[in-house]
C-alpha cells in the first residue's frame, strides 16, 4: 500500500524490487509487469475509503491458462476488492489471491508499495 515505515531491525530482510513507475499505472485499472520470468498484474486504486491502494497479483488465469488477469475489471464484492478474469469472469480477491467462486483456483500475490515514483514489490 502507500509508503511503508522503515523496516524493523529484527525483521527478515525483504527485498523490494522496483517494477515500473507510478506513471505506468492506469487509474482504477490494471497493467502487467515482467518479473524474472513471472508476470505480475498491477492494479491501482487512487482513491478508496482506506486511501490509495496498489495490488500485485499473478497474471495467469488458472481456468484458461492465458495471461490475462491484468486486463480484468476491478470490483468490490462481498466486502473484498476483486478482479474479474476477462475470459470466464470468475473473481479473485486482490488482497490474498483466493477465488470467490472456485476455492481450488488461487493466484499468487506480492506485497507492493509506492516508493516515491517507483512501484515496488517484495520478492523472496
Amino acid at each position: 500500500m502507500t509508503t511503508a515505515t522503515a523496516p524493523l531491525k529484527t525483521a527478515p530482510a525483504t527485498e523490494w524490487r522496483a517494477l515500473c513507475s507510478r506513471a505506468d499505472l492506469v487509474a482504477n485499472s490494471g497493467v502487467v509487469a515482467w518479473l524474472d520470468g513471472e508476470q505480475v498484474a498491477l492494479f491501482h486504486l487512487p482513491q478508496t475509503a482506506e486511501g490509495e491502494k496498489v495490488f500485485a497479483i499473478a497474471n495467469k488465469d488458472p481456468k484458461s491458462g492465458a495471461n490475462v488477469i491484468g486486463r480484468g475489471i476491478i470490483g468490490h464484492l462481498n466486502g473484498d476488492y476483486v478482479i474479474a478474469s476477462p475470459l470466464y469472469k470468475q473473481h479473485f480477491r486482490l488482497e490474498d489471491g483466493t477465488c470467490q467462486e472456485y476455492p481450488e483456483q488461487r493466484l499468487k500475490v506480492w506485497p507492493v508499495r509506492l516508493n516515491g515514483d517507483a512501484v515496488e514489490v517484495a520478492i523472496g
Partner: protein, 852 residues
C-alpha cells in the same frame, strides 16, 4: 494421555455406488445427523467423485469434470466419510456381513446399494470398439470424443430421450448425426404417434437423419464410412461410429450374486422403506425396483435417498410410494414434455389434441373419465404449457369449463394457472421435494433473495426443470407480502438498467463515481454494473470509449477495442460497411495480415476478421489500417455491428432498389451507437431476401414503392423472425423510424437484452411499439430523433482517437517494463495459417523457440 475424545461410532454403514443418488444419500445422512452413529464408507467404481449425470452433455459444451462434481473436493473428508473411489465392490458376503473389494474385505452393519444402471447394448454381431459406444459416464464421453475426432458421420441406436440427447452431442462434435429407432416413432415411452411425428419433423429440420422401424441385424466393414449397419429389410446405413442408447438396465449383479430378491424385469426388489429382502440391506436409485417398477430419473432416487437417510438417523420419514415420471426437456433445441398418463391408457379417459403442422407443434391433454381432472399430457414444440398442466395433474385441480384452452396457443385459451391458484401442498420441485408451502415458509422467515431460497430449500438445484416455476411463485409470494421484488442490477445498485438510464439522463450524470455516490451502495462497483453504466454513459453522451473515465468500466474488449480470444490474443475486425470493399483495400488487409502473421477469416457478417494479435501489436496494426482508410468495426462493442447487404438493383436482375447504397447509408449513420446489446441490420434489394433481413434487429427489404421495415429479429441462440413494422417507406421516413426505434430500445431495454427479447417483454406488443414509433403516442419522437442526431454528429473512430494520443497508447503494452511479447503464447500451423496451440500440442514447440 490424549485429551481428544473420538465419538464412538457403534456401527459401520457401507454405500455401494457414488453416483447421484448415493451422493445425495450421504448429504442427507450428514444433514439428518446419522454421522453420530455410523462410520460411513462409500465405494465408487468410477474414479471421479459423484457428478451431475443429468447435465453430462455439457461436458461436450465446455464444462469440465470438476465443475460437474456434486460437492467440493474435501466434502467427504471434512465430514469424516471415507470414500474409496475407483474401487468397485466385487461381492457381498451376507453371512459374514462383509463387502469384498480389490482392496480387501470390510465389515458392514448396514449396506445401501446405489449402483444405478448400465446402458443396454443389444447383442448385434460386429458391435465392438467404435461401433459399440455408450453414453452414461464421463469416461464414455471421453471415448466418444476420441472416436469422433476422425469421424464424419455418427449413428445413435435408440430414439428415446437419451438417444436424442446423444445425437445432439454428436452434432455438437461436428458430426453428421443419424438416429435409428426400432419402434415406429421417436420417444416411444413418453410420446404418442402424433407427438412422435411432430418431434421427427422438427429434428429432421435440424439436419439429423431419423430412421424408424429399423432393426440392426449386423455391423460389417463399410465402403464409404468405417462401418455398415445392415437392417432387417435389406437396407443399410454407413457410419464412422455407432452409439447405443437402447435403454438402461438396473445394475443388480451384486444383489443377484448374493441371493437378494430381484424383480422379473430386473432391479433389486425393495419395499416402501427401501429395504431389500435382507433387512440389513437397502437399495436406492436406478438399481431398485419398487412394485415392479424401476425409476430412470433423479427425483425418485432422491426421494428414496431421503427416506433411507431419515430411517438410519432415527428421524420421521414418509414411505416411498412410487414417483411421478413426468419430464420436460429440450432435445436438440426442441421442447418436449410428457406428463402422467401420456398415452391415455386409463379406462374412459378422453383426450384433447392441438396440432399445428406448419410449425410441427403438437399438444395432447388427457383428462379423467368424469372430465374433471388432468391425468396426462404430451407436448412437442413448446413447453410453456408444462408447469401449468403438471400442477393441474399433480394437485387434482379442477379443470376449467373449456379444458382445451389449456393447450391452445396463448391468448386464445384459458389464462395460465397463476402462482396463487396453486395449493400449498403443490410440489414445485420434485427433485428436492419442495412444496409451495415450503417456499412460503421461507418468505415468511424473511428470505427475499432467490439465490438464498435455492441454497436453503435446494429447490431448482437438481434437474433445473422447475426453475421458472420456483422463481414465479417466489416473486409472487414476495409481492403478496408487500416486499418489492429485488430487481437490483448487482450489490451496488438497487435499480434496473432502464431505471439507471433514466437517472443518468435526467440528472445529467457524467461519471460512474458520481452515479455510485448519488444512487449506489458500497464503493468501486463490479464487473456487472461498471460495463452497464459505461454503456449508458456512452449512449447518452457519446464520449469516446477511450476516455480515462470510461476505461476502468469496460470489459477488456472495449478497453482495448479488439476481441480477446481464448489465449489472451485479440482479433481485429475493421468496418467493411455493407460488405462492399475495393480491391485495393482487400490487398491492404492481406498485406497487413501477412506482415503480422494474423489468421484470416471471412466472418458471418460480411467482413474480415484478423486473429492472433498481441496487445502491443494492436496500435501498429491499426496505424496501418487507418492509413489505408479503414475504421474500427466495433466487433467488440455492445453497439451496431454490421449492415449486411445483397447486391441489389445495381447488378441483380431482380433488384428493385439500391440495397448496397442503403446499407452503406444506414451503417455509416448508426456506427458507434452504444446499446444494451449488439445490433445487426440487413438490407435486401427485393423479396428474395438474400441479405436475410428478417433475422436482424433491423431488417429493410426493397419494394417497388420504397422499403419495408422489419424489426426485432434475431439469429443466435434463440432465433426469432423479425416482424413487419411498416411498409413502402421512402428513404427519409425509413431513417426517421429507425432513429426512433433504436433510441427507444436504448432508453428502455435491460442490460444485455437484444431487441428480440426486449420486444417480447413490451406490454402491448408490436401494436404498442408501432404506436410509440409511428404515431408518437408518448410524445417522445422529437426527443428520440434529436438524441440520435447527437450520436451521429459526434461519431469518431475510436481507434483513430486512440492512436493520436500517446497517453492512451500507453496501455497497449504487454509488459510495462519490458519489450518482449508474452512468451506463453504459442501457435501451430494448420491449413497454412497459424492458430493457438492446444495443451496437448505444447510439447511440439521447441522450448527455446519464441514465437514473435
Amino acid at each position: 494421555m490424549n485429551a481428544t475424545v473420538t465419538p464412538i461410532k457403534s456401527e459401520t454403514l457401507v454405500i455401494v455406488g457414488n453416483g447421484m443418488v448415493g451422493h445425495h444419500c450421504i448429504e442427507q445422512l450428514i444433514e439428518q445427523g446419522a454421522l453420530a452413529q455410523y462410520q460411513i464408507h462409500v465405494f465408487g467404481e468410477e474414479r471421479q467423485r459423484a457428478y451431475d449425470r443429468v447435465h453430462l452433455s455439457e461436458y461436450f459444451g465446455g464444462r469440465d469434470a470438476e465443475s460437474l462434481a456434486l460437492c467440493e473436493a474435501d466434502y467427504y473428508t471434512r465430514h469424516g466419510v471415507q470414500a474409496h473411489l475407483g474401487v468397485p465392490v466385487i461381492a457381498i458376503d451376507r453371512e459374514a456381513g462383509e463387502v469384498v473389494t480389490t482392496e480387501g474385505r470390510l465389515h458392514y452393519d448396514k449396506l445401501i446399494l446405489a449402483t444405478g444402471s448400465y446402458p443396454f447394448v443389444p447383442p448385434i454381431p460386429g458391435a465392438e470398439g467404435n461401433s459399440r459406444l455408450v453414453y452414461r459416464t464421463l469416461e464414455d464421453l471421453d471415448g466418444i470424443r476420441a472416436a469422433a475426432a476422425s469421424a464424419k458421420r455418427g449413428v445413435v441406436v435408440g430414439g428415446g430421450l437419451l438417444g436424442l440427447e446423444a445425437a445432439n452431442a454428436l452434432k455438437s462434435l461436428g458430426l453428421e448425426a443419424h438416429v435409428v429407432e426400432f419402434a415406429p416413432r421417436l420417444m416411444p415411452v413418453q410420446l404418442d404417434d402424433e407427438g412422435g411425428a411432430a418431434l421427427k419433423a422438427r429434428i429432421e429440420a435440424l439436419g439429423v437423419g431419423v430412421h424408424l422401424s429399423r432393426a440392426t441385424q449386423e455391423i460389417v466393414a463399410g465402403e464409404q464410412y468405417a462401418y455398415r449397419m445392415n437392417f432387417q429389410d435389406g437396407e443399410y446405413l454407413e457410419t464412422d461410429l455407432i452409439l447405443f442408447s437402447a435403454g438402461i438396465r438396473p445394475q443388480d449383479a451384486l444383489a443377484r450374486a448374493c441371493g437378494l430378491e430381484v424383480a422379473p424385469r430386473g432391479g433389486v426388489v425393495i419395499d416402501s422403506e427401501c429395504r431389500t429382502s435382507d433387512p440389513a440391506i437397502f437399495a436406492i436409485g436406478e438399481c431398485a425396483s419398487w412394485n415392479g417398477n424401476v425409476f430412470g430419473l433423479v427425483a425418485p432416487g432422491y426421494t428414496m435417498a431421503r427416506n433411507v437417510a431419515a430411517q438410519l438417523a432415527g428421524q420421521p420419514h414418509a414411505p416411498f410410494m412410487g414417483a411421478d415420471m413426468s419430464t420436460k426437456l429440450k432435445l436438440l433445441g426442441v421442447d418436449v414434455g410428457s406428463i402422467g398418463d401420456a398415452h391415455g391408457a386409463t379406462a374412459g379417459s378422453k383426450s384433447y389434441r392441438y396440432i399445428d403442422e406448419a410449425t410441427a407443434s403438437y399438444r395432447r391433454l388427457v383428462v379423467s373419465a368424469d372430465g374433471k381432472t388432468v391425468i396426462g399430457a404430451v407436448l412437442v414444440g413448446d413447453n410453456s404449457y408444462y408447469d401449468t398442466l403438471l400442477q393441474y395433474a399433480q394437485n387434482g385441480i379442477k379443470l376449467p369449463a373449456e379444458p382445451a384452452g389449456l393447450i391452445l396457443p396463448a391468448g386464445e385459451g384459458a389464462p395460465a394457472l397463476g402462482a396463487d391458484a396453486l395449493p400449498d401442498t403443490a410440489t414445485l420441485c420434485s427433485c428436492h421435494n419442495v412444496t409451495k408451502g415450503a417456499v412460503c415458509c421461507q418468505v415468511d422467515a424473511g428470505v427475499t433473495d432467490l439465490g438464498e431460497l435455492k441454497a436453503i430449500t435446494k429447490a431448482a438445484t437438481g434437474c433445473g426443470g422447475c426453475a421458472a416455476l420456483v422463481k414465479q411463485v417466489f416473486e409472487h409470494e414476495l409481492a403478496a407480502r408487500g416486499v418489492s421484488v429485488d430487481k437490483s442490477l448487482c450489490e451496488h445498485f438497487a435499480y434496473t438498467r432502464q431505471e439507471l438510464y433514466g437517472i443518468i439522463r435526467v440528472e445529467g450524470i457524467q461519471s460512474f463515481e458520481e452515479l455510485l455516490a448519488r444512487h449506489g451502495r458500497g464503493h468501486t462497483g463490479c464487473d456487472i454494473c461498471k460495463p452497464a453504466v459505461g454503456s449508458i454513459l456512452a449512449s447518452c453522451w457519446n464520449q469516446p470509449i477511450t476516455d480515462p473515465l470510461l476505461i476502468p468500466l469496460q470489459d477488456t474488449n472495449d478497453t482495448f477495442m479488439a476481441n480477446m480470444q481464448k489465449n489472451g490474443t485479440y482479433s481485429i475486425v475493421p468496418r467493411i460497411a455493407g460488405g462492399e470493399i475495393t480491391p485495393d483495400k482487400l490487398i491492404v488487409l492481406g498485406q497487413i495480415a501477412k506482415k503480422y502473421d494474423l489468421y484470416t477469416k471471412i466472418t458471418g457478417g460480411q467482413r474480415i476478421d484478423l486473429f492472433g494479435a498481441q496487445l502491443h501489436e494492436l496500435p501498429d496494426i491499426w496505424g496501418e489500417l487507418i492509413a489505408a482508410g479503414f475504421e474500427t468495426g466495433h466487433a467488440y462493442g455492445k453497439s451496431l455491428r454490421t449492415v449486411k447487404s445483397c447486391v441489389g438493383s445495381t447488378w441483380c436482375r431482380y433488384g428493385v432498389q439500391d440495397s448496397v447504397g442503403m446499407a452503406l447509408h444506414l451503417e455509416n449513420r448508426y456506427k458507434g451507437l452504444r446499446a444494451p446489446h449488439k445490433i445487426k441490420f440487413a438490407v435486401s434489394g427485393c423479396t428474395r431476401e438474400c441479405a436475410e433481413a428478417q433475422s436482424k434487429d433491423v431488417g429493410v427489404i426493397a419494394t417497388d414503392k420504397g422499403w419495408n421495415l422489419y424489426v426485432a429479429g434475431n439469429g443466435g441462440m434463440r432465433p426469432r423472425h423479425a416482424e413487419l413494422f411498416a411498409t413502402d417507406l421512402d428513404d427519409e421516413t425509413l431513417v426517421r423510424y429507425i432513429d426512433r426505434f433504436l433510441m427507444f430500445y436504448v432508453h428502455t431495454a435491460d442490460r444485455l437484452q437484444r431487441t428480440s427479447v426486449w420486444r417480447e417483454s413490451l406490454e402491448g406488443g408490436l401494436d404498442y411499439l408501432k404506436a410509440v414509433i409511428i404515431d408518437d403516442s408518448l410524445g417522445l419522437a422529437a426527443e428520440l430523433e434529436s438524441q440520435m442526431q447527437h450520436v451521429v454528429d459526434t461519431y469518431e473512430c475510436e481507434w483513430a482517437n486512440a492512436i493520436s494520443d500517446p497517453e492512451k497508447l500507453k496501455r497497449f503494452r504487454t509488459f510495462v517494463n519490458d519489450h518482449r511479447a508474452d512468451p506463453d503464447i504459442h501457435f501451430v500451423k494448420e491449413r497454412e495459417q497459424r492458430r493457438p496451440a492446444r495443451d496437448a500440442e505444447l510439447h511440439l514447440i521447441p522450448a527455446a523457440l519464441e514465437v514473435n
